[in-house]
Subunit: 142 residues, 2 copies
């Protein structure tokens, strides 16, 4: 009888431990996904709108951005693509037709990784746009 | 004796069920956080850099952005703040000193929620900057 209670106690202990750890790791994941972006460097390639200019979003999203992302290795945390819709102020022109953003841990590692591929990246521009982009380097505050 | 085994079996079943559900909900959370941003609307309030202009990031991050976010209710998925560091092109001026971005499900709900508070939001500008922002409305492609 005593051994049965021991087994039951152990089972209970194990199950609560497993449950507790799972809860904790889930919480930790949630916290880390919320916190991990803070302090990251964003390199945003912003394509200004102008009459008569073109931008092929399908090529950009399926070819150009994945190519550049492929050069960045483990320094790249994620990359995003957004499509400009409108100016938030009435009767003002669209500021940007598209923005591609690389979230990296280190700007110098980004620059070192891009350096040897700069010409290949520039040569690919003609495949999707005739817009000269503006590049903003920023830090995630929140 | 039989009842003891029944209790043990129930304990086991409960503990595995709890463990399984916790794992599943953790996985679901992870998946949803990766997928949910696609298709969201970003409203980005971009503060261009100019000599002699000022921007109080501490006030912006602790007072202004939380105030506006508070007006948006469940339409707001998240908001981010970034601090401009440099131009990605050598010898070019910093494009933006700061960008605040609201990720919302619906632009019309955003506009309806902001409308009644527009004057309060504008009046608060003077507390942290003398820069007139550019507002980009865009869609998350990826």
């Amino acid at each position: 009888m005593k051994s049965k209670f021991l087994v039951m106690y152990l089972l209970l202990a194990v199950s609560f431990t497993a449950f507790g750890q799972e809860k904790q790791s889930s919480k930790a994941k949630k916290q880390s996904s919320a916190v991990v972006e803070q302090g990251l460097i964003k390199v945003s390639i912003m394509y200004p709108f102008a009459e008569g200019k073109s931008f092929d979003m399908a090529y950009y999203a399926s070819k150009h951005m994945p190519m550049v992302a492929g050069f960045l290795g483990s320094n790249l945390v994620k990359y995003t693509i957004e499509k400009g819709l409108s100016n938030g102020m009435p009767n003002q022109p669209l500021p940007y037709v598209a923005i591609g953003t690389f979230y990296v841990k280190s700007l110098s590692d980004y620059q070192a990784a891009i350096g040897p591929h700069r010409e290949a990246i520039r040569a690919d521009f003609a495949n999707y746009t005739n817009i000269i982009p503006i590049i903003l380097v920023s830090e995630v505050v929140r």
